[in-house]
């Protein structure tokens, strides 16, 4: 080095508070590492946490592709009778669905190449096409199989005989029947009329015409009335009022109202609105038992007002009101009130009083009312309703275990309501309203309903009930649109169906 001594070196940087570059570079490196950790977490969220849901989404190309090419799993009823199987199109070789009977069209729905899926075919599409078997570990190891599709066979809790009898009983009327086992929540029958030819929708050659006609049909056959039909409940809602009143402790089975005898004569005045009793009810004080037996609007209106809108809505909510019911099919949310500003969403005392006997802005699905009956039948505990009771595939059979939604009321309160409902079916007075609901030889409980719709048409005919009163095995809800009083159409049909149930299950 030719070291020529430089007299004045270049101006030295002034001493400043410069951070060493190594340190700030480290900070940035750390920040980027944290950002990448965020990416890993994001990937984990979509690939592990949300994976089952994404993979079974009907819009997922995997599901669409499988639906076209895979032979779907068969669907059988609780006795192993085949309800849905497959055929191959002789021209294209592509498989399509065939169904044993139209009676199951509401619950099973359809699987169509052109029009997608509905019913159980929709909610269990992933299992039926074998895209997922609902078992995370099995799904993760699927890649090591030569054939990644493992279509599952579904076993429904539906009893074909009950289902066919229910559809038959509804006949040409529009309506719905839900029967379930109150101890397990297994749905035994889920009928909705009118039914439709779901086989015609599934067959690629007839789908266009059949589906086009169904879509414009004024009777709305594609609507599953049992789970998505919203109806005025009428007197069957009194059981909800009883559950809320006893559950909240605001009333007891012995509660009487001193103003009732007078009100029976000229009506009960609530904030200027006059509530009338239906004709024939004696003017005396009632308790829970006799009010249910006589189906007294005034007693239930008073009971509802004493219970209060908040408690009424709260106990109804515990039985499923206000939300879609967690089950295997899409459901409409039943409502207690019109969503006004008062407690429980009631606009005022008048709405609360009318709702307490089922004639305000209250709207219910038949499935919801079956759950109300089921809650009382099962000693106050509500079980999750479900249609599919087992899936079976390459990996063996997976049974769907019954699960409890929760306790709504105490066993004592449930027993008191059950006793009142038994009187409503079995006493000489009650029988006038619930004609034909009694299963001979089996203690039967129930409540009829006559949903006044205003105007000139006939009311909806309702019945909910269960049997036997001690240790019930079946609960039921029946509605026949424009079927008249509860005792006219719904109660006898319910009696027939429960009788058939006990004949099948001795």
């Amino acid at each position: 080095m030719t070291a020529t001594p430089t007299p004045t070196p270049p101006p030295a940087p002034r001493p400043t508070r410069l951070t060493p570059l190594g340190r700030t570079i480290g900070h940035v490196g750390l920040a980027l590492t944290v950002a990448f950790a965020g990416l890993a977490l994001g990937a984990g969220y979509w690939q592990v946490v949300r994976s089952p849901e994404l993979t079974t989404d009907p819009g997922n190309p995997l599901v669409i592709s499988a639906a076209r090419n895979v032979v779907r799993g068969v669907i059988v009823d609780r006795d192993g009778k085949v309800l849905a199987s497959n055929k191959r199109d002789p021209d294209t070789g592509q498989p399509y669905r065939v169904y044993s009977s139209d009676a199951f069209s509401g619950v099973i729905g359809y699987a169509s190449r052109q029009f997608g899926t509905a019913g159980i075919e929709r909610s269990f599409n992933a299992q039926l096409t074998g895209v997922s078997n609902g078992n995370p570990i099995g799904d993760a190891l699927r890649k090591f199989e030569l054939d990644p599709y493992d279509p599952q066979k579904l076993t429904l809790g539906i009893s074909s005989r009950l289902q066919l009898a229910a559809v038959d009983g509804l006949g040409s009327d529009r309506g719905a029947v839900v029967m379930l086992d109150p101890r397990t929540g297994e749905i035994l029958a889920l009928a909705t009329t009118p039914t439709f030819d779901n086989g015609a929708v599934a067959n690629p050659n007839t789908a266009e015409k059949a589906f086009g006609a169904l879509r414009v049909d004024k009777t709305q056959p594609l609507l599953n009335r049992a789970t998505q039909g919203l109806y005025v409940p009428g007197s069957v809602f009194k059981i909800v009022t009883a559950v809320a009143g006893l559950g909240s402790g605001r009333i007891t089975p012995a509660t009487t109202f001193p103003q009732q005898p007078k009100a029976e004569k000229d009506g009960l005045v609530v904030s200027g609105f006059r509530i009338h009793e239906h004709p024939g009810v004696p003017s005396r004080s009632f308790d829970l038992m006799s009010a249910t037996e006589w189906s007294s609007n005034i007693w239930y209106a008073l009971a509802g007002m004493r219970t209060g809108g908040e408690e009424l809505a709260s106990f109804a909510g515990r039985m499923g009101f206000g939300n879609q019911i967690d089950t295997d099919l899409p459901t409409a949310a039943s409502q207690v009130s019109g969503g006004g500003p008062g407690p429980g969403g009631f606009a005022d005392e008048v709405e609360l009083a009318n709702a307490s006997y089922g004639q305000a802005k209250t709207l219910v699905t038949p499935l919801q009312m079956a759950l109300v009956a089921s809650t009382v039948a099962n000693g106050g505990i509500l079980m999750r309703p479900h249609v599919v009771i087992a899936t079976a595939g390459r990996g063996g059979i997976q049974a769907v275990a019954p699960s409890q939604i929760g306790r709504v009321i105490s066993p004592e309160d449930a027993a008191a309501i059950a006793a009142a409902m038994q009187r409503a079916v079995e006493s000489s007075i009650g029988r006038q309203f619930t004609t034909g609901a009694k299963v001979s030889g089996v203690p039967t409980a129930g409540k009829s309903g006559t949903a006044e719709l205003g105007g000139s048409g006939a009311p909806h005919s309702w019945f909910i009930g269960f049997a036997p009163v001690q240790n019930p095995r079946v609960a039921i809800a029946v509605i026949v649109e424009r079927g008249g009083r509860g005792g006219q159409r719904a109660a006898p049909l319910a009696g027939d169906l429960m009788t058939l149930f006990f004949r099948i299950n001795k």
């Binding site: 080095m1 030719t2 020529t4 430089t6 007299p7 004045t8 070196p9 270049p10 101006p11 940087p13 002034r14 400043t16 508070r17 410069l18 951070t19 570059l21 190594g22 340190r23 700030t24 570079i25 480290g26 900070h27 940035v28 490196g29 920040a31 980027l32 590492t33 950002a35 990448f36 965020g38 990416l39 890993a40 994001g42 990937a43 984990g44 979509w46 690939q47 592990v48 949300r50 994976s51 849901e53 994404l54 993979t55 989404d57 819009g59 997922n60 190309p61 995997l62 669409i64 592709s65 499988a66 076209r68 799904d139 993760a140 190891l141 890649k143 030569l146 990644p148």
Partner: protein, 506 residues
């Protein structure tokens, strides 16, 4: 030493060659080669299962491609050995692995995604990507071996910046209009995306400017009331530079590039000054700017709305991102296996832009969460090596240059990965080393080449510090007049050392 004997036989044009073994790189490249061969065999097996007519023996998906690619990595490795430079040994295998994953992915996708005709040959997606990979790694190796001085970068930073902006403006006025965006420029037979090259140019400029004015940027010279502001005059040219680049990018609707520029700019500013205040102000400015953009620019609004809820319109606006999430979900923990994902409906790929904007979604599906983590890890290794090179570089310019280049890779990978995973709104930029695209791959090659060259501390010492500002120059004028060459005296004189007195182009 055998390598030395080989080197001795080479012509003298390359100078005295003293090969230096790179055993760590050799071992890592062996792992890369083994992984890619396994990947290729797996891909071949998958396609055989999909097409059961063929034999089920073990083979490579496209033996020639794999051979060419591995040969390329081998040659690059050999050239680095022969160059005798003490360079980083981990960058090349890491980038090589990412490039190999890209090659496997592009071979797995339908080859008709991209078709280029050169003379009588028709090249598909995999062929074209391989060609770009060859050019990219060739460029990286060439730069790594030949770049021994950085004077041409640091002295002409304004010229580079001007050239970059000119290139962008040229694209804006003369570029090819695709979907309302002008991102690519065609000159004769060559077509490319200048914004890609601008990333490197911007980093070179920022490194030059920041290293020179670093002490001044840290001093708080401007005081407005109680608030201490940075010396505005010194921040202005840089901010203007940044604003021009950003403005053009925004006008072209290239939001991904704008976000990338901005992040790298802020990171380098922080590295140079160590002041969190700059970052805070920068982020606030960015948020304010984004909000204004959201209100004014419909494209931005659409992007943000899609990001907020892609499932609102899963078949329209939200289609690509929903399909990306479906792909991640299908992959799950272990993935479907290479070649077994991306189910087609009517022969259509679920994600049309999978090879450019969504390669991570495809890899997430076929390699699973484990594969995504591995790929993110590889990017982090590239960034870590770059920042390590930066921290141990000989002077501030080289530090900032290396850090900036590494951050371009890391930030770009983050932006597009986060977009694919719906963590931030999707912006169309490439995933470094993996996405299909010539410009992107070449620029990635340039970055790897520079980082390798910068990692060699054995050759050229940086030039001594020059007068760093107008003020400093004024105070140093006397000294400069007395000894004109004092500021430029070479510390380690060598034959290649240039002393350009007229090179100051400020």
């Amino acid at each position: 030493m055998t390598a030395a004997a080989v080197g001795a036989g080479l012509p003298r044009i390359l100078g005295p060659i003293r090969p230096r073994t790179r055993w760590r790189e050799t071992r890592l490249l062996a792992i890369v080669a083994a992984s890619l061969v396994v990947g290729s065999v797996s891909l071949a097996l998958t396609s055989q299962v999909a097409d059961p007519g063929e034999s089920h023996g073990l083979s490579l998906a496209n033996p020639l491609h794999v051979a060419i690619y591995l040969g390329l990595l081998g040659i690059a490795h050999l050239v680095l050995i022969l160059s005798g430079r003490r360079m980083d040994e981990i960058l090349l295998p890491t980038a090589g692995m990412l490039g190999g994953i890209s090659l496997l992915l592009m071979e797995r996708l339908p080859q008709t995604q991209v078709v280029q005709s050169i003379g009588p040959w028709k090249l598909g997606l995999g062929d074209v990507q391989l060609a770009w990979l060859v050019l990219s790694f060739g460029l990286a190796t060439t730069l790594a071996v030949t770049v021994r001085s950085d004077g041409w970068l640091r002295l002409y930073k304004y010229t580079w910046a001007a050239a970059g902006v000119a290139l962008l403006l040229a694209t804006f006025f003369f570029g090819d209009d695709i979907n309302g965006q002008r991102l690519s420029l065609t000159i004769g037979p060559i077509s490319g995306q200048p914004a890609e090259l601008l990333k490197v140019i911007l980093v070179v400029f920022l490194a030059g400017y920041l290293s020179e004015n670093r002490p001044l940027l840290v001093e708080e010279s401007t005081k407005v009331g109680p608030i201490s502001l940075p010396p505005l005059p010194f921040l202005a040219p840089m901010a203007a530079m940044w604003a021009i680049a950003l403005g053009i990018v925004v006008m072209q609707r290239d939001l991904g590039a704008a976000l990338l520029f901005f992040t790298v700019f802020l990171s380098l500013l922080y590295i140079a000054t160590g002041r969190v205040g700059y970052v805070v102000v920068g982020v606030l400015l960015f948020l304010a700017g984004s909000y204004v953009m959201y209100l004014l620019v419909p494209t931005v609004q659409t992007r943000v709305d899609i990001w907020a809820d892609p499932f609102r319109d899963p078949t329209g606006d939200g289609y690509q991102i929903v399909q990306s999430l479906f792909a991640f979900g299908r992959g799950g923990l272990l993935g479907t296996g290479l070649g077994a994902g991306l189910p087609t409906v009517d022969g259509r790929l679920p994600i049309p832009a999978v090879h450019t904007d969504f390669p991570l979604a495809a890899l997430g599906e076929e390699l699973g969460l484990i594969g995504v983590m591995a790929i993110l890890g590889l990017f982090l290794v590239v960034v870590e090596r770059g920042l390590r090179i930066a921290a141990s570089a000989a002077d501030e310019f080289r530090s900032l240059l290396a850090a900036g280049l590494a951050l371009v890779i890391g930030t770009q990978a983050f932006i597009i990965a986060a977009g694919n995973l719906k963590l931030i709104p999707l912006t169309g930029i490439t995933l470094p080393f993996i996405s299909y695209g010539g410009s992107s791959l070449l620029v990635n090659g340039i970055i790897v080449g520079f980082l390798l060259a910068l990692s060699d501390r054995g050759v050229e010492p940086p030039p001594p510090p020059r007068p760093r500002s107008r003020f400093a120059r004024l105070t140093g004028r006397v000294a400069r007049l007395e000894t004109p060459a004092a500021g430029r005296a070479p510390i380690a004189p060598g034959p290649s050392r240039r002393s350009p007195p007229a090179a100051d182009d400020r």
